[in-house]
């Protein structure tokens, strides 16, 4: 249900502008500028990286089953898919779910796993300490998370701490529908008790494997959102997301370029300093423009050029780079087109473009 709904939503938005693999890359959170860019221009930010472990074959399998079930149609000659009437109905069903409203991939896909892992190990640790048991097999097997929990424990040894953690979790989970809180708590481990595996959750809650993953992802996103909006109410849980706020760029390397730009180095100088190709630096600049709405693009593409690109987009009714390029004068580069695409929302009146 969820994974189908997401695919239908993506197809509805993207139409024929990208192949089906564009959706796959979006769902698996491919760390390429193209995927982030797609998420932005097609307004599918919420689905970025919501199913990280999905394989290409599994995804094709899902699409094939949707074809068989009449949710999709496919043109004979090409690889493009249409959403059928039944598909539209399924989509609107999905859009009525809480999970749809919870998903916030582009903001949270990078921190979701760590939020959960830290929480799982924290609950397990305090549950054991509560009964003075200091040796147990940790449910999360990651040095990073273990170190974080150890440091945390050193700073919080008060005897009433498990109680506080309980109250915060209680308060937080009470904001969710009962079924979702049940699901989330079933995954928690503690003293001489281990939470359910994803497979066990899938059976218990009658979900497919993929939907189980997206269900958990959605719940995690809403929890992170609730906690970060009201940090003062969650003195413990808000610490689980510390260190993530500043994470503005997806890639470290783009961030380095950004620092050099701020020091007024020219693109050519940055190429020299970083020993990278100019095209790579262009990628970084597009990435920076995507994440930082205050970043000025005028020095790379002037107002007149911007207007020409916008006109080409409207004329052809497309976001396909190649089509836009062919429709512009030859001096306009792909780099400039990509930059303009990052600013579509500002450059175009709301709702003006339907591609």
């Amino acid at each position: 249900m969820y994974v189908e709904g997401i695919t239908l939503d993506c197809l509805t938005q993207i139409k024929f502008n990208r192949s089906i693999y564009g959706i796959y890359h979006l769902l698996t959170g491919k760390k390429s500028i193209q995927s982030v860019h797609d998420a932005r221009i097609f307004q599918l930010e919420k689905y970025y990286g919501v199913h990280l472990s999905l394989t290409r074959n599994q995804f094709l399998q899902i699409v094939n089953v949707m074809l068989e079930n009449g949710l999709l149609n496919k043109d004979d000659g090409n690889e493009f898919y249409h959403v059928t009437k039944a598909g539209k109905e399924k989509l609107s069903l999905f859009q009525g779910t809480t999970i749809f409203s919870y998903l916030n991939g582009l903001s949270f896909s990078g921190i979701e796993r760590q939020f959960r892992d830290r929480l799982y190990l924290l609950v397990q640790t305090y549950s054991n300490i509560l009964v003075n048991n200091y040796s147990f097999i940790p449910i999360v097997d990651s040095q990073e998370v273990t170190k974080w929990v150890k440091d945390f424990y050193r700073r919080h040894q008060q005897s009433n701490f498990p109680d506080q953690l309980y109250h915060e979790l209680y308060q937080l989970l009470s904001l969710l529908p009962k079924g979702e809180a049940d699901f989330f708590v079933d995954r928690l481990s503690g003293y001489q008790y281990y939470g359910l595996s994803m497979e066990q959750l899938a059976i218990k809650y009658n979900l497919s494997r993929d939907d189980t993953i997206i269900y958990l992802t959605g719940i995690t996103h809403v929890l992170i959102n609730l906690v970060s909006q009201k940090k003062e109410a969650y003195p413990i849980l808000s610490q689980l997301i510390i260190g993530f706020d500043q994470q503005k760029f997806i890639t470290n390397t783009a961030n380095q370029t950004f620092h050099l730009l701020k020091k007024q180095y020219s693109l050519e100088q940055i190429v020299q300093i970083r020993n990278l190709k100019l095209n790579t630096i262009y990628d970084h600049i597009v990435e920076i423009a995507l994440y930082d709405s205050s970043f000025q693009i005028e020095s790379y593409v002037n107002k007149k050029e911007q207007e020409e690109i916008i006109a080409a987009i409207q004329l052809n009714n497309t976001f396909k780079l190649k089509t836009i390029k062919e429709s512009c004068s030859s001096t306009i580069s792909y780099f400039q087109i990509r930059l303009v695409l990052t600013r579509l929302k500002e450059l175009l009146p709301e709702g003006e473009i339907h591609v």
Partner: protein, 511 residues
């Protein structure tokens, strides 16, 4: 004698046991006296204590060579859980920086687990040479012998490594080594060795074989037996898919039982969850592949079923050895269907390179030599080039090294010798194939045995065996209706998440 009393005290202090199990004290005493020891102890009787206790008592560091990364990780996890923190596992999964950092701090550890491949690294040897190694342990020592069921070529190079790092006393351990294999181990190490061989037969495990016509019958037998008993049970499969499928079917047919599956393809967290749920009696039945159980120390497993039988008797003994570690009556049921013999046969073929694989490897090597290129180090890249499995590559690679064709960073050979070398590799491959097929045949012959199964199983490993009056084997005749093991009492299921959360985090709410 005061010495032995002291040992028991140490055991109590570090592991919480008041007495040693059979053989442990004898082996540990010899180890502490600096002797070289070969110890053959049955599975499930605490082989690892034989070096874990000395590791804590001896002055310097103890090195343990272990063939399986997952096994090492489990052991480290368990030791850390008992508050032994100066323990570490070195394996190829560690990235370069982390490894470098670990090497520099090796002196901080008392017990170091390492894979045989890693031990070949000059860099690691360099650091080990600077330390005082007081004990060198070879776990699963049967891997030294090509007649053993899990031959690992790098095990044969251990002697050289031992010499390099100051010739510490050696402790070689195995649970399944025939006399042939024991001799191989001793010869390969080239040093005087005290042998401590203990009988490996487990008289509390009943051996039962049931032949069926179709797989559906297997399911019926398992359902019938387990519907009478709610006890910790394992069911072994040769494939992940079969384990998953039967797990789903069984949970429908046995609604009162809690059934789960386990295999190597699952995510780390789910693997820990299923293992530990089983340990805590949260689940009753695990449908699993051979990946399960290695690190599992559950002492009240009552049934071990084999839905598919393994390709060799040694694996079978290891797997049924997970039953009845508390000494109470337990039952092994091997379900045999004529078609099943194809599965181990396929497995054998997938483990060794085919003629075609060898031909492709040869062509590529010649090409690389001509273009003066360096062979990739990452296995993924090699797999893409040769289209072979990791086991197959390990075989080819070690053979090429042996013939001096492959060096640390590349390939070098005398062109005239290439054909000869590949011919030799083919011969060795055929020899291995023969060994494995013989083992499969042994397994099949045992399954079809008409006389006592216990006698047939154990006498190839040792002189004689303990005779069992009741509950011996299906050929001697058993009456399962009298089998009356202690039933699992399930943990109370709490109806709401609020109560579950309370059980986890509020005093007085946990059990």
């Amino acid at each position: 004698m005061s010495n032995t009393i002291l040992l028991e005290k140490e055991l109590e202090t570090y592991f919480g046991y008041s007495t040693f199990r059979v053989g442990q004290k004898e082996i540990i005493s010899d180890v502490l006296n600096g002797k070289n020891v070969l110890g053959i102890l049955p599975t499930g009787t605490g082989k690892s204590i034989c070096y874990q206790l000395p590791a804590r008592l001896l002055e310097g560091v103890t090195i343990v060579v272990s063939p399986l990364i997952s096994l090492m990780m489990d052991q480290v996890k368990e030791l850390k859980a008992t508050n032994f923190k100066e323990v570490v596992a070195l394996n190829s999964f560690l990235d370069y920086d982390k490894r470098k950092q670990l090497y520099k701090n090796l002196y901080r550890y008392k017990l170091i687990y390492v894979s045989p491949e890693m031990l070949q690294q000059k860099e690691l040897q360099f650091y080990l040479k600077k330390m005082t190694v007081s004990l060198f342990v070879i776990d699963e020592a049967h891997c030294i012998s090509q007649w053993g069921h899990e031959f690992r070529p790098d095990y044969q190079k251990l002697k050289t490594v031992i010499n390099q790092i100051g010739d510490p006393p050696v402790l070689a351990l195995s649970a399944t080594a025939t006399r042939e294999v024991q001799d191989d181990i001793i010869n390969s190490l080239e040093r005087p060795i005290c042998k401590h061989i203990y009988p490996m037969d487990r008289s509390n495990i009943t051996l039962s074989i049931q032949e069926v016509i179709i797989n559906e019958e297997k399911l019926e037998i398992i359902t019938n037996v387990l519907s009478e008993h709610k006890v910790p049970s394992l069911i072994y499969f040769s494939s992940k898919n079969a384990a998953e499928n039967v797990s789903h079917l069984l949970s429908k047919r046995l609604p009162e039982h809690r059934v789960a599956f386990y295999h190597g393809g699952m995510e780390q967290m789910d693997r820990v969850a299923i293992q530990q749920q089983f340990m805590n009696d949260q689940i009753d039945i695990v449908c699993c592949t051979s990946a399960f159980g290695m690190g599992i120390n559950k002492n009240n497993i009552r049934f071990v079923f084999h839905y598919h039988f393994p390709g060799q008797i040694e694996s079978y003994i290891q797997e049924i050895g997970r039953a009845g570690r508390d000494g109470n009556q337990s039952i092994s049921v091997l379900l045999y269907c004529r078609q099943d013999s194809f599965l181990p046969q396929q497995m054998i073929e997938s483990e060794l390179p085919s003629d075609g694989d060898l031909f492709r490897a040869r062509q590529l090597f010649i090409k690389y030599q001509d273009e003066d290129k360096i062979l990739p180090v990452e296995f993924q890249e090699i797999q893409a080039m040769f289209e072979i499995s990791e086991v197959q590559w390990r075989f080819i690679s070690s053979q090429l090294e042996k013939h001096g064709i492959k060096h640390k960073n590349g390939i070098k050979y005398d062109e005239s010798k290439v054909d000869e070398t590949f011919e030799q590799i083919k011969n060795i491959r055929d020899e291995r194939l023969y060994v494995k097929q013989t083992k499969l045949k042994d397994m099949m012959n045992w399954i079809h045995l008409k006389t006592c199964l216990r006698e047939g199983l154990y006498t190839r490993f040792q002189n004689g065996y303990t005779k069992v009056e009741e509950y011996c084997c299906s050929n001697c005749g058993i009456h399962l209706q009298d089998f009356n093991p202690k039933q699992t009492i399930p943990l109370k299921q709490l109806p709401t998440w609020e109560m579950k959360l309370k059980r986890l985090l509020v005093v007085g709410e946990s059990k």
